[in-house]
Amino acid sequence: MHNIIIPQLIAGLAIVFTLVAFGWRLKVFNSLARPIDRAPARGSIKQGLLYAYTLGMAPWAKESTRRHWLSYIRGVFFHIGIFLGLGILVISPWINLFPTWLRITLSTGAGLGALLGLAGFVARFIDPNLKALSTPDDYFAVLVVSVFLATACLGLSFLATLPIFYIISAFMLIYAPFSKIRHCIYFAYSRLFFGRFTGIRGVLPHQQQVLR
């Protein structure tokens, strides 16, 4: 048991560090001006926001995701896997209390997430556009997160490997605020501004769906 306490402690401190670092980033973000739309609305900001966070994310909602539906769905499930992995990290100290079927389910989910992440890593090497766009940080970030998910999968299957999971988690968490991984904290804001922009103008949700 002594073997696991120190890695657990390191992972715990990494969680605190990441929360503080992301909190600082959000504080900086919120200290900046947020422009106010003073033009009278033509559509509904509420409808625009609702669409931006729900149906607007559906694979069929955009030409780009209809065209690249496979890589889009891969990305969506990879990100669901990441949240699952973080959940596993939080509950892992009590993992012995969980029934086997739940451990297998969580392990499978994390394992699938790892595979989808690795597929994304390989895609960055193969797809000429992605290759041209990618920075070393892009490759490393997706690799680190994929390894994190792989060790989560492994840790739930073989409890003896949990210390590795904690160390990898700690590394990923400490790396996150400095790297491309931090895009996660800006996602909600970006969709917020998108929803406001298209909503107030009455562009989205699609007018023909609303009017007809």
Binding site: N30, P35, K62, E63, F178, S190, R201, V203, L204, Q207
Partner: protein, 440 residues
């Protein structure tokens, strides 16, 4: 390296850094899914034309200033310090390889506002003297005209009196008038330079007995294209002041995408308050007349087949989408939609000032290729567009790609369908007449 220019550019970036800009700089995952959303990329699939690649050019500069990891490991994030040379390269990217059409944003899973990043680059370029000379000249000319309108007012009023005769013969109404700056009018109509945006609107307003008056200013706002809020505000202020002085209830903008976008959506933010009057596009007003039954239109007047091109500023960025369809269905029995259209429509490739740059002809013909292909596939012989820049670009595309289509404004189609006594018999004649009005 010119330190002053570099400092100016970085100063602009830091000054402009607000929440939407920071989110756009930080949130991109470089997934490349936006590639085919861009008409440049569709025309020529090279990585430089992927919206994310364009946006990366500003992100690299941002990282060099604001990112810890980039400072200690520059190669890790591909950061780039800004220099004199890179400012002009960035200016070229922002002014000639992006028309700020917003199609990439609506197609991005994150909603990355790449046009906002490109506008910031335009602002940086303009502040450092790297903006296209033609746009600078046009913006300055508008600012100068606004300072002392009396210089050209007599000439303007003379040309309006001439136009009034054309209006009377078109409408068959000897009492038809084009009032200029009439106090207390309900509508202040703001046209573009040239009779072609005044006469059709005047015919519609006079026929239905609208209480309207004409602005002495032009709706165009080249300050917007420059990403220069100070000049853009100065240009808009002429019209805002005019509307306030006349006490009108509403400003109606001619069929011009950027002018509508600037006055309807951006100007209230420049002036820090809601206006006392409403701002609408003539497209919205005509659609309302049709829905209210105030305009009697004969759809057989425009046999077509006709299609409609959605201007990005009016449609995807402005919300004026269905109104154009209301008009098209009322003026013809042979309306064909382009595919894709509405908020998914391709930009014509001439937007955001590109059509005004003689040196950008080749690239705008390239950027317009997806639109030209769409028009060709549609089988339409006439393309209607509610934006002057789009119409100019579509005309050039027709010639360049041998489409053989006529290009026309919605108001012209409406006038044709009104069966006015003096209206030209064929659409071809109408287009020829419109071209001569443009020259006037």
């Amino acid at each position: 390296m010119d330190t002053n220019k570099t400092e100016t550019a970085l100063g602009i970036l830091n000054k402009q850094l607000n929440q939407p800009l920071l989110a756009a700089l930080e949130v991109c995952a470089r997934c490349g899914i936006c590639a085919e959303a861009c008409h440049y990329y569709v025309a020529e699939p090279k990585t430089d034309y992927i919206p994310a690649t364009r946006a990366e050019q500003l992100r690299k500069v941002y990282r060099s200033e604001h990112d810890f990891l980039s400072r200690i490991l520059p190669g890790w994030t591909n950061y780039a310090r800004i220099t004199d040379d890179t400012i002009s390269e960035l200016a070229d990217i922002a002014f000639t390889t992006c028309t700020l059409c917003y199609r990439c944003t609506t197609n991005c899973p994150m909603g990355v506002d790449t046009p906002l990043l490109m506008t910031t680059l335009r602002t940086m370029a303009t502040a450092t003297g790297n903006a296209p000379e033609m746009l600078e000249m046009l913006a300055d000319a508008a600012v100068e005209k606004g300072k002392d309108p009396s210089i050209y007012l007599d000439y303007f009023l003379d040309s309006i009196r001439d136009m009034e005769k054309d209006l009377q013969s078109l409408t068959g109404n000897p009492d038809a008038r084009i009032s200029v700056q009439k106090k207390g009018a309900k509508i202040l109509y703001v046209a573009l330079a040239g009779a072609h945006t005044i006469l059709p609107a005047a015919a519609i307003f006079e026929t239905i007995g609208e209480d309207w008056t004409l602005s002495i200013f032009e709706a165009s706002n080249y300050g917007v294209f420059l990403g220069d809020p100070a000049r853009a505000k100065t240009i808009a202020k002429r019209i805002v002041d005019e509307a306030n002085a006349l006490g009108v209830k509403e400003i109606v903008i001619s069929e011009c995408g950027h002018a509508y976008y600037a006055m309807r959506w951006t100007a209230p933010n420049w002036f820090g308050d809601e206006f006392d009057f409403r701002v609408r596009s003539i497209v919205e007003v005509i659609a309302e007349y049709i829905q209210q039954g105030r305009l009697t239109l004969d759809p057989s007047a425009n046999p077509g087949p006709l299609t409609y091109h959605d201007s990005c500023n009016l449609g995807r960025k402005g919300g004026v989408i269905e109104e154009a369809r209301i008009i098209m269905r009322a003026v013809t029995n042979n309306f064909i939609e382009l595919a894709p259209s509405r908020d998914e429509a391709y930009c014509c490739g001439g937007g955001s000032g590109l059509v005004a740059l003689p040196e950008a002809f080749d690239i705008r013909m390239l950027a317009g290729k997806p639109k030209a292909d769409q028009v060709m596939r549609s089988g339409a012989t006439i393309v209607a567009a509610a934006c002057e820049n789009c119409r100019l670009q579509l005309g050039d595309l027709s010639e360049h790609y041998g489409l053989g289509v006529g290009v026309i404004a919605l108001a012209d189609l409406v006038v044709k369908a009104m069966r006015l006594p003096g209206a030209k018999d064929s659409l071809e004649e109408k287009i020829t007449a419109q071209n001569s009005l443009v020259e006037k």
